[in-house]
Symmetry: C2
Subunit: 133 residues, 2 copies
DNA sequence: TATTGAGCTGGAGTGCACTCCATCCATTAC
DNA sequence: GTAATGGATGGAGTGCACTCCAGCTCAATA
């Protein structure tokens, strides 16, 4: 498949795809006789995983390192495992942090609602983190 | 308290604090006779909440909008409530997404471990999203 | 009183992750 | 044959959120 279709299927712009290739995130796809990139479904699975890493805060530097390990094949399994375990822990921490923030937001929301429906005096708001009446 | 101490306590650099003030995230603190900023513990609570918003993906544009509503006092409670509810839903969604990513990473990690301890053939790896042997 | 240190301002610079663009080339449709 | 379409390339530009800096003032201390 050519870059246009690949772009649509992966959800990444053609510019981003060429950029990812340039910085070493994507193995260079084969070219057709006219010099145009030809992607396989392997490439598709891979960019989808890249997007997972990216959307969970991994920087392109680390993604490039993982991509390079992946290119090394079996020999790099232990290293890839290390990276994934470290990343999973980061994701888990972030998820726990978000849960705490949700609780804090719920608390503030409840106070605002209390003020709006009159069950709370506006002055009670002052104890809500960072708010003012 | 002066900006140096405030910076230490809040964990934001003095540059960032002045920047936040400039773009309307922070109510301008009083100045001492020499023209230096004097922060209160109210300011501290507020920047701490700003950091919560920031670290959960709210952009400075929206934070400035919230800050401006906060300056309006009681009249803006309904609007602030709206913003917080919308933001809480975003945070909740993100938390659920992270949980899914954790599961995916765990799956890949298990496969790599299987390959390392010999209970899985390297060729089985190919079914793991985006990997190659 | 001289020096040191903290803080002030306006503006330039940085890093990240793209995104856009001009110009050129190949393929396909008519 | 030619026009339209899609892709290639190198390099410049963008938006965000800071971060750094020069040159200054002010206050506390030896």
């Amino acid at each position: 498949m050519q870059i246009g279709e690949f772009s649509e299927r992966s959800g990444l712009s053609t510019d981003t795809l060429r950029y990812y290739e340039k910085i070493g995130l994507m193995p260079s796809p084969d070219r057709d006789p006219g010099g145009r990139r030809t992607y396989s479904s392997d490439h598709l699975q891979w960019v989808e995983f890249l997007q997972v890493l990216r959307s969970t805060g991994m920087g392109v530097r680390d993604m490039a390192r993982y991509a390079s390990l992946r290119e090394d094949g079996l020999a790099s399994v232990a290293d890839r495992l290390d990276m994934l375990e470290i990343h999973r822990e980061k994701v888990a921490e972030e998820r726990r942090r978000l849960a705490a923030v949700e609780a804090l937001l719920t608390n503030k929301i409840d106070m605002f609602q209390g003020v709006l429906d009159g069950t709370l005096k506006p002055t009670d708001l002052s104890c809500a983190v960072g708010e003012r009446t």
